[in-house]
């Protein structure tokens, strides 16, 4: 008995001692100067993290071509499945100034800004990436969140709309159709706050860019009711493609370029009647990135129109590189005329960007409740 008491006391003393060592921890971001990525001889090993199905694969794919041209050994890891959970995984490392061996990864615009503000990213000198600025589409040169393109370089853009299994539910064209009870349990929506909720707001005639916090919360309520009643089967990240393939759902809110991942021949991507959400993803260089010279060279490499065209050919997303459409036309590819890959102003006239709500915290909390179940 005394042994038990003694050990308990010892533990308490130990614990208090340990607690005294700590104050604020786990966050606060990296204080100090923001580094600039260093250029240099291009050699060695390069580790990149990206979303799955976001590059031309195989022996003649982008990575293979880059390796052949530069002699760099590339480790291309497709471990980004969801913007938030990838950040959660990286955050403890980034807080320490580490990147887990990664030299470059691809994240959404708003996430790039968030990480920059926390001091987790390195800056990029324009003179180190000439090919990028030669070929970057004018519309992407000066976005609100990074007006001088100091820390982000666009990778691909895309649209969030509705994937429909035309053999089972050909009449779905609007987000409002997704709430029709005859499809109960056969609908999925994306778990990303800034993609799904703006779509619902558009369907109600609200402009997400100007919406008040209350309007955000109201849209979330509507989605929540649909989830409770069993109308919505899942809130997904990448996995809605699997549900489409297995025939478990008739429609999903999903991304325009995912046709390479969908086996279901009856599935097609549709622009919602009231408009879509448009987004961009960027390459960023994190703190602690090894071999930044190779990372910079990678950025230059993928901005060559020919390489960019190869990527577009496979991923079918919207390329940030000018000249790709002409190249694809020369190759006789059908994609050159595709509205999904090269959308016209007219096609996307009702679309909105990836907006954030004016007051993030309550909206985020409400959203998390809905998607966690």
């Amino acid at each position: 008995m005394t042994l038990a008491i003694a050990s308990a006391l010892a533990l308490i003393v130990l614990a208090v001692g340990l607690a005294a060592c700590g104050g604020t921890t786990g966050g606060g971001g990296n204080t100090g100067e923001i580094e600039t990525a260093k250029a240099g001889p291009v050699e060695g090993k390069l580790t990149i993290s990206n979303w799955p199905g976001y590059i031309a694969p195989g022996d003649h794919g982008t990575v293979a071509e880059f390796e052949r041209k530069t002699g760099v050994n590339v480790s291309y890891i497709e471990d980004v499945n969801e913007t938030e959970s990838f950040f959660s995984k990286m955050q403890p490392l980034l807080e320490q100034g580490e990147s887990g061996g990664r030299s470059l990864y691809v994240v959404a615009d708003y996430m790039a800004k968030m990480q920059h503000d926390l001091g987790y990213l390195q800056n990029i000198k324009k003179s180190d990436i000439p090919t990028v600025f030669e070929n970057l589409l004018p519309s992407l040169r000066s976005p609100d969140f990074d007006p001088n393109r100091e820390f982000s370089v666009p990778w691909q853009s895309g649209m969030t709309g509705i994937w429909v299994d035309t053999s089972k539910a050909p009449e779905i064209h609007s987000i409002n159709d997704l709430f029709d009870s005859k499809y109960a349990g056969k609908i999925t929506m994306l778990g990303e706050l800034r993609e799904t909720v703006p779509l619902v707001m558009l369907a109600e005639g609200i402009d997400p860019a100007k919406a008040s916090t209350d309007q955000w919360l109201h849209a979330i309520e509507r989605i929540k009711d649909a989830a409770s009643s069993g109308q919505i089967r899942h809130f997904t990240g990448n996995e809605y493609t699997e549900d489409l393939n297995a025939g478990n759902i008739v429609a999903a809110i999903g991304w325009s370029g995912d046709s390479s991942l969908i086996e279901n021949e009856n599935a097609e991507w549709r622009m919602p009647t009231q408009g879509c959400t448009m987004w961009s993803e960027d390459m960023v260089i994190p703190v602690g990135a090894p071999n930044t010279a190779a990372a910079l060279e990678w950025m230059n490499f993928v901005y060559q129109p020919k390489i960019a065209a190869d990527i577009t050919d496979y991923v079918q997303y919207i390329s940030p590189v000018s000249g790709v459409q002409e190249l694809l036309k020369e190759r006789g590819s059908e994609l050159a005329n595709s509205q999904i890959v090269f959308p016209t102003e007219q096609f996307t006239r009702k679309c909105t960007g990836q907006n954030s709500p004016p007051d993030l915290e309550p909206v985020n909390e409400a959203w998390q409740e809905v998607i966690t179940g």
């Binding site: 959660s88 926390l118 478990n248 409740e369």
Partner: protein, 289 residues
């Protein structure tokens, strides 16, 4: 005994105890400490004696907690009903095949939890033969489904934790002295009576061990709910996972984990006080400190 001889057990126990204390007990303390912090990623997490995290973490999530009780409870009951006869059969009817059957019971463990749960996901998918048969037999309505329902999650939990039920049951059943049942028969009891009055009470420690070893991990599971369930099947584990790994709300996540841990610890401590740690570990004698 010489001093050296008396110290031997402490040397033997030392590494294990140290490892468990440093990497189990201490983290529990840290989790409790994290639960008392406030803040977020941008501002950092500051220690604030923020006791409100505890009721806060419960407030939004009572539904998931009750659901976890319900799912884990049902799965445990099913596992008991399925597993007891199986354990009995292996202990007394298996003959040469005893070890083979035992191995077959553990075999699913060797295919990775995720792979076999995903296998179930496809076996139970909407367009699978299983669902078609159930629809033909009118067990399911014409456009009914199994996935993204409570049924699928409970079925998954039962399957995945069945070995945890069977092994303690078997270990206990194996020691059953069949002559006691003989004796009962000699005293004119029927088979059913013999079972209820002799076998069942004697195997109760095994049953309780199996129930605990099944219910507790099932309660905290989130994989089955995530893969086989839909928006309405989230369990406590899903909430904790989301709080830690998606929302990065570490204080609330830690508070909820701590509460869940406390709940389970209460159940285990009550049982141990009742039956002694020896019974939990599988032998019949009570050990003294």
């Amino acid at each position: 005994m010489s001093l050296r001889q008396r110290l031997v057990p402490y040397w033997l126990l030392g590494p294990g105890l140290l490892w468990l204390i440093i990497f189990f007990v201490v983290p529990m303390y840290f989790m409790g400490e994290l639960a008392l912090r406030t803040g977020n990623l941008t501002t950092g997490f500051t220690f604030n004696w923020e006791w409100s995290n505890f009721p806060d973490s419960l407030s939004g999530h009572t539904e998931q907690i009750w659901r976890s009780f319900y799912y884990a409870g049902t799965a445990t009951l099913l596992a008991l009903l399925i597993g007891y006869p199986l354990a009995y059969a292996i202990a007394f009817r298996a003959g040469r095949f005893k070890q083979l059957l035992l191995f077959a019971v553990i075999a699913p463990f060797f295919t990775t939890y995720l792979v076999r749960t995903i296998a179930w996901k496809t076996i139970l998918s909407d367009s699978s033969p299983v669902v078609s048969v159930l629809q033909t037999l009118s067990i399911l309505p014409p456009n009914g489904r199994l996935l993204a329902t409570s049924t699928a999650v409970i079925a998954g939990l039962t399957y995945n934790f069945l070995p945890f039920m069977i092994l303690p049951l078997y270990a206990n059943l194996e020691r059953l002295d069949l002559r006691l049942i003989e004796a009962a028969k000699d005293l004119y009891s029927s088979s059913t009576q013999a079972f209820l009055k002799v076998t069942l009470p004697l195997t109760m420690p095994g049953i309780v061990a199996g129930v605990l070893l099944t219910f507790i991990p099932a309660f905290g599971d989130y994989i089955n709910a995530q893969i086989l369930g839909g928006t309405q099947q989230a369990m406590v584990g899903n909430v904790i996972q989301s709080l830690y790994l998606v929302q990065r709300n570490y204080p609330e996540a830690a508070a909820l984990s701590f509460l869940m841990m406390g709940l389970i610890l209460a159940i285990v401590v009550i049982y141990i006080r009742f039956a002694g740690t020896g019974a939990f570990m599988g032998d019949e004698e009570e050990e003294t400190a």
